[in-house]
Symmetry: D2
Subunit: 357 residues, 4 copies
């Protein structure tokens, strides 16, 4: 594959740092432009950034000069990844698209736009086909916006997709999350709120899980110009816990028709293969879902399992029958890899393989 | 009220330490005997104990000599509180009862015995009336066993009782818990399992919540000699989180017939008054349920709210309609007060007021 | 003692909250005015405050209307406690003093002013006598500024004072601190910086310990108009650790002349009695220094010992000879009680007893 | 280099797990035998082990059958790494040596034996030459024992060696440590002791730092048959903090003669090159000491810097003059890599390169 020049919007932030970590030795994507706020523009990346990753900053970017997020700074880029906060993402990302630059956004601003794909790369990359319609509407040949899901949604839709594929429509899903602090960025959650504590509230988060799940698991209209929500009823309760990375979810599922056994569910999750794997994308996990059986009743755990498949897998365990729903289980996602920066990267890899970028 | 002499079984353990903390200035219960394992017997309490409470050991017990848990050591006691581990509680507590000594146990061993009351003191103290039948069967005039619930069950049944009283039978309850480490005793949970982590499994815990809830919210047979489970279907998922004290639960409730509004639910919880309050017991909370409204969307939190009403209240917040069940909310209990030692103490206070001890 | 009307500057902040917690049932100080920023002024205290204490807000203050920090709002106050950040404390506290109101400040702004007492209440309350000179210079009969030390300094000077009293001048002191996050206020330290981590740097803190120790342990000039630093060389290294409350310090001491044994040191610390105790002040600890002997080699610990003597004691343990200095030990202070709000309150109690307020 | 067959003693423990993680893709060392307690022997490694590493167990070892620690089980091994607890290491390691098998031990048992090298691989690999004398005394041609230091000692001796090389003898060193919980193994430190807490005591640890530093920085007698301690006076105070991996130390140094500037010290640390680097060993760090300058005043930090150079570097920061000693700084070691398993591996690599294994 030819090497693509990529830019990063919001490069100094938490998601931006994760983009750079994941791209530091990527064979096909070469970091060419780093964009950040006016305050950072003009400084070296090292000067501009409070680096909070547990692996050192890559040598390559250390001395790169940070640019503003103006579209013209990114003119040379084949692809731009955005880790911008939603306060700024709306306008900046639109400007880049209008300048005919493809943008893969981690922000919430365009997720609900009917012709913008909302894609978790191990779930619904076929939704990328709507890009043709999006470009046509905007009279662009390259420029487009692709969004990835909220970090917590990813932990839900990956196993649900495998189950929907195997057992048909899902009627109801109850989700209780225990979410890592990195999801709130930096400085993010004050330590006084998290030490010896749990906070049973994350503003806006429950609605995102409930809505995004239905778009991601849903379909496309006949003209391939807009997405249609599926009918699954999702109820979410979100909690913040003192964990660095890794959102853990307790999920209960009721199917519309099927009532598979625990071993059926185990097999369906374990056997699930996504398009990114079939296309042999560089960052695609070997297992999209890592399943723990009864011999490991206390897994997955954030600290031990978030790095499974380099953070691109969702880990599932404790599959058991439920007295109210049909089945319940625990699901874990690396919230800044598959739940954020990694989603953008793998979405881009798939889109490139499919000739869409 | 006359002063009662009380003994503590398992006085050196985590629950035993909490008993002593709560009894240190109790007007009616005077600590007379401390019992622990053979290893500790004969030592001063200070020598025998790794004190882990955040308030200092009371002067009074510091130099008391620890006894074994033989029934004869407790002959002088009017009441004995047991913080014994279930490995030992079965035989020791039975021996004391057979020696005609009333035992209030925190262990699971007798909770499911048909004629042993399983009592959360702000929920079902009327169940204590079965003691008459228990004593009769055993040919005893004083000796008896009273159990309190598992720590996590308490967070569930207090709000459910208020709702059942107000809106009639509850059809289904889904519970996801985030439980404190003090629930596992000392040494208990290794720090390597808890730092930057959540463990989505606590052995035996889910079954306890599911079963105990039905006994506590259930009734008594006609002859007042055995308990009958109620019909509520309870599904529980339990997680251990890095919190010292305070179990937080996400609870979803479907009523059999009613479908009260959020403000109805808020009012029913807020107005709930239990028998321990009506009897004006020393340790009874002024509010059995502390309710947070929409102005505090991120409460209750373990670190900030576990001490509400000295740990004898359950705190509830985030009451909202649910798309699958009728209503969902967050509930917090101080797991070593109302969920353990405090339950025994307040149960004893009620039993004394009712002439049963 | 007559009841004094007190005001709080910065009442909504972390230190302000602690002032209110400590004053909630104080027999001599009645909270009359709460001052905070313009943003909070006009709101009820409950509305204006993100309460982060683990005990509930006292009923009394819940509905008090927060005022601005203008001097005229505090005209009725006999005493004003300031928990203001140093960015604002300088001007506001001076304005109050100039309006003839006594201010007890927790901020650093006036600590180094030659005629302003810098007082740790269990160490050097005799320094309060300089208030006469301060008032004279300012032509005031009541208005004055009294400061208390930085939170970490308190853990150092309490044991050093006892040792200096017993064994004469101290030549050198090496201090390494492990400090709680509450010392940085709210929101303060981001959780991403503290979970699974230690931060070996607190801006400005080392200099404060090194300088303030010398003023607090030093003397007053002949005319009682200015303080003189003592000659002890202090070297400090400060670290932030994931602890809510309680600064723990490793301290090594070399005396100028004496070389007392471990048991001499133990006795000197244990026997130490401060003026606040002799004057029988309400908040004075019964033991100014709680000493742990070899039977407790792992104490003091922040979580278990910070509440010793309601947070007004310093706890010392692990006293042992040192191969470089003479003796080394571990010292713990409750940083928001004796290290902040409690210092102001107990300083005020002493000053009242001495007729200075 | 030819591939060596290696065995692991104590393979199921915390240090054993780290050995396997570090060896999972090692080009020269092939894991051939896993030894553990009788309880584990006969089981597959997966069955026998509670895996606590944040990277998955390597496929290769998952199904290997665990052996006992009898010498005969390790007959095929060229090298045996021991992660045994000191309770068992003494006899087992001796038995292997007597069976002519080279053992690299992480336990304390033989560290003080005069003819056993105590080696930190980036400090004193020239001490390995004493193996000849050790073998001669025991009439062995291959069998020998090599020890590595206590985990906390490593953080001290690496910078001290660089300073001693550059500025001559060191007179006095004061060390205060903040040590990670992984140093205590599994289950190790109870979470109730560590959450919201620091424990200012680690049994035996201070003496190890004080003594081992002097052997590692010392010399060998004329006949190359025994080590001689150097004269540096070391005073250590050890604390346990809630950190998973990474021991952080505050170190103050007084030289016997020199008094280098901060920039001299910075340069000496930064320029330091050890024998393992010169021999181009596989695991040798590119920088033995990673130095942070004044632009990063809050580094090193355990979570952000412990993985520097894959855990084989020591990171140093906050170099500044000291008013009592000459210079002070902060030092960080990955306690289970350079401070434990990694030390054994890199020591073995050096010994192989030097023809000693």
């Amino acid at each position: 594959m030819v090497v693509k020049k990529v830019g990063i919007l919001g490069a100094t932030g938490t998601v931006g740092q994760r983009f750079l970590t994941l791209l530091s030795d990527h064979p096909n994507f070469e970091v060419a432009v780093l964009g950040a706020s006016a305050r950072s523009a003009g400084k070296s990346y090292k000067e501009a950034t409070k680096w909070k990753q547990s692996v050192p900053m890559s040598k390559k970017v250390t001395d790169m000069i940070v640019k503003s997020c103006d579209a013209k700074e990114f003119a040379q880029c084949d692809i731009v990844f955005s880790g911008l906060d939603s306060d700024f993402a709306g306008e900046i990302e639109k400007n880049l698209r209008d300048a005919n630059i493809p943008v893969l956004s981690n922000a919430k601003n365009y997720r609900r736009t009917p012709n913008v794909p909302l894609v978790v790369p191990t779930v619904n990359t076929e939704h990328l086909d709507v890009l043709k319609s999006q470009r046509k509407e905007n009279n662009l040949d390259r420029g487009c916006i692709i969004t990835n899901s909220n970090c917590s949604t990813a932990a839900v839709v990956v196993p649900l997709k495998a189950l929907q594929d195997a057992f048909g429509p899902i009627d109801k899903v109850s989700v209780v999350s225990m979410q890592a602090i990195s999801g709130a960025g930096y400085p993010g959650v004050p330590c006084l709120d998290m030490l010896d504590n749990v906070v049973p509230y994350i503003s806006g988060e429950e609605d995102k899980i409930e809505w995004e799940t239905r778009k991601i698991l849903g379909g496309v209209n006949e003209s391939q110009s807009a997405f249609e929500l599926n009918d699954t009823v999702v109820s979410a309760q979100c909690n913040r816990v003192p964990v660095i990375d890794g959102h853990l979810m307790c999920i209960s599922v009721k199917f519309a028709k099927a009532n598979p056994s625990v071993s059926d569910v185990h097999k369906a999750l374990n056997d699930y293969v996504c398009e990114a794997q079939k296309l042999d994308c560089h960052s695609a996990p070997k297992q999209a879902i890592v399943v723990f059986d009864e011999s490991c009743p206390d897994r997955p755990q954030p600290r031990l399992d978030r790095e499974n498949q380099n953070g691109y897998a969702v880990s599932v365990g404790r599959i058991r029958p439920d007295s109210i729903f049909d089945v319940k289980f625990v699901s874990l996602v690396h919230n800044t890899v598959l739940g954020a920066a990694g989603a953008g990267i793998l979405n881009a890899e798939v889109a490139v393989k499919k000739g869409l970028l």
